[in-house]
């Protein structure tokens, strides 16, 4: 490890304990090679009611209409769009870790990259459910929002931020998937090579696309990975910027704000890292991978959490300042209403979770001790969901004409869809843990002691 800037100042080993290449493969492959453990089954069965709840609410919504939700005349968008933005935000950490940190040569990413990327894809899958079912006629929206040629010569409206969303989110989802899959190839080959059963060998064999581990293959792989990293990096920034345009481009007081793109991206990374931390802490304990995903990883992730928390906090303050400074009565009222109106509880809970509590992460002990940091990252997740709730609900319930003001209350279907989307997400995640290597074996091997040329300091 010659490049001092690339590693942490103290340069602790990225993988702890006395570990060999073989042991690493064994440890990481154990969960998907062994028959599912009792614990996996318990976890899987626990999340199934949630996933079924999602399915039920999904089908009910499509069958009966948006009336099953709490939406009303001023509040056209309710929890569905809140959930959409929330999940898209969650999906940011994965690509950030795999792409941007890769380009920045942050080697500590190797332990968590695979898991974070998988989380990204599942989060995007969850997110995509919401824009579809939130439309009044999803059976048409499913393809009318795509610029398909048709006999009526009706084109989509390229001025609509919702259309930009369609492009941004689908591109992001697709590229994230390809990036993730490319990264998976060497590991799938390891799984294939280790497989003892014929079917396993066949399936992993097909999935690994004939990976041989030759120099040529590695060379192409590295180039492709780099290219994908390069391609994904702007997408990390663009997708949430575009999502924020849904709000920023509108005329609704409290939405019509130029700060939204960077504010949303920062918020997305913030929530994404919090979610990665939330899940990975459980995951590494379940699969006994504490030596691969160490507390130092958590420490570094929490540094990003606190950095983005400050950005989000800055955005909160600047929004209020601009509302006052801009002098637009509607805008001023929108922010007074946020802080003091009927949803003030949500606003202040959001500020507490997103800005105040994360300040504790300045202490190294807190940010690298699971029992301290865990409540904080959980509350950041809550806070970031509330942020979208506050933006959408407070703005729509109190806009221009007081005559049209009305409050919003979620229905049981709204709640079912939110809770259920976690069921869907966790189901996908558990299946991933069951069938695919959760840590990038090939990449992690590269950060084991002695695996890299060490610039003349031969042992």
């Amino acid at each position: 490890m010659s490049d001092a800037t690339a590693t942490l100042p103290e340069d602790p080993p990225l993988v702890q304990g006395d570990i060999t290449l073989q042991k690493l493969d064994d440890d990481i492959s154990a969960p998907y090679e062994a028959f599912p453990t009792k614990r996996w089954w318990i976890a899987f069965l626990l999340v199934q009611p949630l996933a079924i709840a999602f399915l039920v609410c999904f089908v009910y919504t499509i069958g009966a209409g948006i009336g099953t939700w709490g939406n009303n005349a001023p509040v056209g968008w309710g929890w569905a769009i809140t959930n959409f933005v929330f999940w898209i935000g969650i999906g940011h950490a994965g690509t950030l870790i795999s792409a941007i940190l890769y380009l920045l040569r942050q080697k500590w990413r190797t332990g968590i990259a695979r898991f974070a990327e998988a989380m990204t894809i599942f989060a995007v899958i969850c997110a995509l459910q919401f824009p579809l079912i939130h439309t009044g006629r999803p059976w048409l929206a499913a393809y009318w929002l795509l610029p398909l040629p048709n006999s009526n010569n009706i084109w989509v409206n390229f001025r609509s931020p919702l259309l930009w969303d369609v492009f941004a989110v689908s591109t992001y989802g697709l590229v994230s998937f390809l990036f993730w899959y490319t990264g998976l190839l060497p590991d799938l080959a390891i799984a294939r090579d280790r497989a003892k059963h014929k079917v396993r060998k066949l399936v992993y064999g097909i999935m690994s696309l004939g990976w041989k581990g030759s120099n040529r293959a590695w060379s192409h792989y590295e180039k492709a990975y780099l290219l994908f990293a390069g391609l994904s990096t702007p997408l990390v920034l663009s997708v949430h910027s575009v999502v924020s345009f849904d709000f920023a481009v509108s005329v609704v007081p409290g939405w019509h704000t130029t700060i939204f793109p960077p504010y949303f991206v920062a918020g997305a990374i913030f929530s994404g890292f919090a979610m990665v931390a939330t899940l990975i802490i459980i995951m590494r304990k379940y699969f006994k991978l504490q030596h691969v995903i160490t507390n130092d990883h958590l420490d570094v992730m929490n540094r990003i959490v606190i950095a983005t928390s400050l950005m989000v906090g800055y955005a909160y303050i600047i929004e209020i300042f601009i509302a006052w400074y801009g002098g637009v009565t509607f805008e001023r009222y929108a922010f007074i209403n946020r802080a003091l109106g009927p949803y003030a509880w949500a606003y202040w809970l959001m500020v507490t979770c997103n800005v105040i509590l994360p300040q504790l992460l300045w202490f190294k002990k807190i940010r690298s001790t699971v029992k301290y940091l865990y409540p904080i990252v959980i509350l950041v997740n809550l806070g970031m969901w509330l942020e979208r709730f506050v933006i959408i609900i407070t703005s729509l319930t109190r806009d221009y004409l007081p005559s049209s003001w009305d409050d919003f209350a979620p229905s049981w279907v709204d709640i079912g869809l939110l809770v259920g989307s976690f069921g869907l997400f966790l189901t996908l995640l558990l299946l991933f843990c069951r069938f695919l290597p959760t840590v990038a074996m090939a990449e992690t091997k590269a950060v084991l002691p002695g695996s890299q040329p060490s610039g003349g300091h031969h042992d």
Binding site: A73, T135, P138, S160, L162, S250, P402
Partner: protein, 946 residues
């Protein structure tokens, strides 16, 4: 192929769509294209499987009547006989079914204007609740069987009681007289439970004759209303509104001043320049104060002084009116005052609405044990507390639905609807209006007069030669075939006129004592939409918000914050109202503007049978009505029950200096007639998009004059009828999902007992820079070259982004398949306007400026090779508006009314600082304050003026 309609227009023989040239036949069907077609069809089948297209059967006409062309509307003139005033109506019929009721433009009584119940009568025609067959006991019988039994009973009877409504035409009256002669011991009672029986009796005593005072509001410069809601619920509201609104044109220089002293908050009070909260039982003291006495403590002495000064200074042009529930002494004092003021009052010696009998007489006649009791179109079991049918040997009731009385009677007979009946009425001297059927009775109903005729003839064959009531009316009219046709086509004969009000003869009546402290005055008023309860089954009327409280699907004990505080109750708590033996529990509605000792309760709610969707909705307040309509000294206390849920369509009423509904005092208007344009200042508005030239072709624009609008909500029902807008029910309205395309916003400011009211109709503003259009991902809402904001229902996928981005929040979303019932119930389906798409669930909708009417006018003109002229297009809301507050037209037509309205000094746009460029122009309201009470000082205008 392209379709050159300009060319086509020049061909005079082309008049119908049937003549459109067809594309040339294409026989080049190869195997390849066939395969393509098969696969496309299969795919479409799969896709179509997901959509909801109602299955239909289409009947084609074999022999088409010569005057009827499919899809082309026919219009008939008729008379609305279901209400209290026989307004002229024009009924639009398409393919044999009435689809819209509008005012008859030339009719002298209402001049084309409409009230909500008149327009909503269409729904009751297609009410699936209508009684389908005569019933004897519990069995369905034929008309012959029913008649036989009735006639037999009548022949044997020694006493017969006939109870009818008040609005009877001359033919009906003549027939009733013949019946009474033929049936031994028969007596006729007029039952109108919620109408001004007391005031009519008082007038009779004062003026020495039966009749009705007709105030000429249009000739008054000063109007003082003493608890009289002449714009909302009292009397000929449509004419009153028209007459009053005619005096509210500040720019034209005709500008009356309206003082309202009232206990509740009413539509009239909302239009007042000065409002004096007054306990209704203190009305005598107020008239005394106006006549020179001293003002009571607690009243604003300045307002009383201003009233007095104004009345004195405007002799001949000042008018005092008093509410129908007030005691005779008040009417006597008002008559004296009006006589001194030479007030512009007319007199209708023979109003169409007959004076009602004292309910006590009807009660006594029934309790005495009549042999036969016949109830024609009345519902005493519901609205006459103490009406007891137990001693009646044979009770017979005629009605549209199996209401409480039909359910309680031995024989229940289905009536024909107003639109299925022949009739005549005489609203004023020298004028007869006619009512003709548009459609055969839908469920085999028979109009009440036909029943009476059949029974009369069975009792006395020599009574008349008429086969049916049509012949009877025709014979009585004395008109020969051609003249009869002409009369029906015109809807009325003669022009009619009112007499001058006679001088009061007898003015001595002693005023009853005012209500004691600690008790409340409870005013019972017919609901502005459900009337006395006869329209309680009408979903349109149930869902039209009560104009002042905006309450839907309920009635309540309406009171002010001070009263609620004194009683220790909050909104939606229950109170018990006790007066003598009568007691009633009602939920509390707290509303600003109510005097602290007054409670207002609407009658007509709480029906229990035959009202369909209106059954068990609201509370029946008739049990309190035994003591009249003003209950003085009622004891009110908290009932301590669990809270009730009242649903109101508007939740926030403070416009927070946003200057949405703009107004100024007369003094300010005199100093700055364009004050409205300077109420909000903003940076220059830059246009980012390319400017569109709207000066060529049409440019459709709507104007609303806030000086005219009284907030009566007639436009809401007009719009609902024209545009197939579904009703959604109490629960959905409670969630904020009412579907109305036009609504009346109400803003209040200041003293909770006497707030300053601003009202404004709010509808799609058809912005030229529409925020909704840019955000729709599928281009389902786009701008037309004529300035319309078009909504394309079949393209809409329902993202609701447009609704979020609409600053006026006028877009309405079909959260459920609200129209399902209207489509699935064959009879309800008939009420839908075939020229407007019925929207399915998941689709956004909103005001279209009645685009179907615009296109109809354009086609009609273009078929004749003419240009569209001003006045060709009348939107449904504009047509109905009794105040003429709405103007619509093409701004590009020089000299058009709307072009003038757009350029008026008072003209402004709501939220103009957003640069959305609305095509709805409002004219700001001017409050004609008495100079001594106008504290406006030039230069001190808020928001800086210039």
């Amino acid at each position: 192929m392209t379709f050159d309609d300009a060319k086509l227009r020049d061909r005079p023989e082309v008049t119908t769509r049937d003549d459109n040239p067809l594309p040339p036949e294409d026989n080049a069907l190869t195997r390849r294209t066939a395969m393509k077609l098969f696969s496309v069809t299969a795919l479409m089948g799969a896709v179509a499987g997901c959509t909801r297209k109602p299955e239909r059967y289409i009947y084609s006409v074999v022999d088409r009547p010569e005057y009827q062309r499919p899809g082309t509307p026919l219009y008939y003139h008729s008379t609305w006989t279901d209400g209290l005033y026989p307004y002229g109506i024009t009924v639009k019929c398409v393919d044999g079914r009435p689809i819209k009721i509008e005012g008859h433009e030339e009719h002298p009584l209402n001049l084309g204007k409409a009230c909500a119940p008149m327009q909503a009568a269409l729904v009751s025609l297609y009410d699936p609740e209508r009684l389908k067959s005569p019933r004897s006991g519990k069995n369905d019988v034929t008309w012959e069987q029913a008649d036989k039994r009735i006639v037999k009973a009548l022949q044997a009877a020694s006493s017969t009681v006939v109870v009818t409504r008040g609005l009877l035409g001359p033919s009906e009256q003549a027939l009733a007289a013949q019946f009474l002669k033929a049936a031994p011991g028969a007596k006729h009672f007029v039952h109108e439970p919620a109408v001004d029986r007391e005031r009519r009796a008082a007038w009779k005593a004062i003026y020495g004759a039966d009749g009705e005072l007709v105030p000429e509001f249009d000739k008054a410069d000063v109007i003082v209303s003493i608890d009289c809601d002449f714009l909302g619920t009292d009397g000929d509201v449509v004419s009153n509104t028209r007459r009053f609104a005619a005096t509210r044109r500040p720019e034209a220089g005709t500008f009356s001043r309206l003082y309202v002293a009232e206990g509740g908050m009413t539509v009239t009070g909302s239009s007042a320049d000065h409002r004096l909260p007054m306990r209704p039982s203190e009305a005598s003291a107020l008239v005394a104060a106006l006549a020179g006495g001293t003002a009571k403590e607690g009243w604003d002495a300045k307002v009383i002084a201003a009233m007095r000064e104004d009345l004195a200074a405007n002799r001949g042009k000042a008018l005092v009116v008093a509410g129908p529930h007030l005691p005779a002494a008040v009417h006597a004092a008002v008559a004296k005052l009006n006589a001194e003021l030479q007030a512009p009052l007319l007199w209708n010696a023979a109003p169409a609405l007959l004076p009602a009998n004292d309910p006590q007489e009807i009660r006594a006649a029934l309790a005495a044990g009549a042999d036969v009791a016949i109830f024609l179109g009345v519902n005493p079991v519901y609205d006459l507390p103490g009406a007891d049918l137990a001693k009646v040997k044979l009770s017979i009731a005629h009605g549209l639905t199996a209401n409480e009385t039909l359910a309680a009677c031995d024989i229940a007979l289905p009536s024909a609807h107003n639109l299925e009946s022949w009739n005549d009425t005489a609203p004023l001297a020298g004028m007869t209006t006619y009512c003709q059927p548009m459609i055969a009775p839908l469920f085999g109903g028979r109009q009440e007069a036909d029943s009476l005729l059949a029974w009369t003839k069975a009792l006395d064959e020599s009574a008349t030669d008429a086969e049916d009531f049509h012949d009877y009316v025709k014979a009585r009219s004395g008109l020969e075939a051609k003249a009869w046709q002409a009369a029906l086509r015109k809807g009325y004969t003669g022009s009619g006129s009112f007499a001058q009000a006679p001088a009061p003869k007898s003015l001595d009546a002693t005023a009853p004592a005012a209500g004691a402290a600690g008790t409340m005055d409870v005013v019972l008023v017919a609901d502005p939409f459900l009337g006395d309860g006869r329209w309680a089954g009408n979903p349109w009327l149930l869902e039209t918000p009560e104009p002042v409280t905006q309450l839907v699907w309920d009635n309540a004990a309406m009171m002010g914050p001070a009263a609620a505080k004194a009683l220790g109750v909050a909104k939606e708590d229950w109170v018990t109202i006790t007066l003598g033996d009568a007691t009633l529990d009602l939920p509390v509605l707290v509303k600003t503007g109510f005097q602290k000792d007054t409670i207002l309760v609407h009658l007509g709610w709480g029906r229990t049978a035959g009202a369909g969707v209106g059954d068990r909705v609201g509370i029946n307040a008739y049990p309190l009505s035994a003591a009249g309509h003003l209950l003085v000294g009622a004891k009110v206390k908290s009932a301590g029950k669990q809270k009730y849920h009242l649903v109101r369509t508007q939740r926030a009423h403070d416009q927070m200096d946003r200057e949405i509904a703009r107004s100024a005092t007369a003094k300010e208007f005199a100093a700055h007639s364009d004050f409205a344009k300077h109420r909000r200042h903003h940076p220059p508005l830059d246009q980012i998009d390319q400017e569109v030239d709207y000066t060529k072709g049409h440019k459709w624009v709507l104007g609303i004059d806030l000086n005219q609008c009284t907030g009566c909500n007639a436009c809401m029902v007009a719009c609902q009828s024209e545009n197939n807008i579904p009703t959604v029910g109490k629960d959905e309205v409670s969630l904020g999902r009412d579907m109305s395309w036009i609504r009346i916003d109400r803003y209040e400011k200041g003293d909770p007992e006497n707030p300053e009211i601003s009202q404004m109709p709010m509808l799609c503003q058809h912005c030229d820079n529409a925020p909704c259009e840019t955000v729709c991902p599928v281009n389902a809402t786009v701008h037309s070259p004529e300035g319309l904001n078009d909504q394309i229902y079949n393209r809409c996928v329902g993202t609701r982004y447009c609704a979020n981005n609409c600053p006026y929040k006028v877009r309405r979303f079909n959260f459920f398949n609200y129209t399902k019932q209207a489509i699935d119930t064959p009879v309800e389906e008939l009420a839908q306007n075939p020229h407007v798409t019925v929207r399915m669930r998941g689709v956004m909708e909103k005001c279209t400026f009645c685009v179907q009417r615009i296109n109809a006018a354009k086609f009609e003109r273009s078929n004749k090779g003419e240009k569209v002229e001003d006045g060709d297009v009348v939107t449904a809301c504009q047509q109905a508006c009794p105040a003429d507050a709405i103007v619509f037209g093409d701004e590009n037509i020089e000299g058009s009314k709307i072009a003038a309205a757009r350029k008026a000094d008072l003209a402004y746009h709501v939220l103009e600082e957003l640069n959305v460029r609305p095509n709805v122009t409002y004219q700001a309201r001017v409050r004609n304050l008495h100079p001594s009470l106008d504290d406006y000082t030039p230069g001190a205008a808020k928001k800086g003026g210039h």
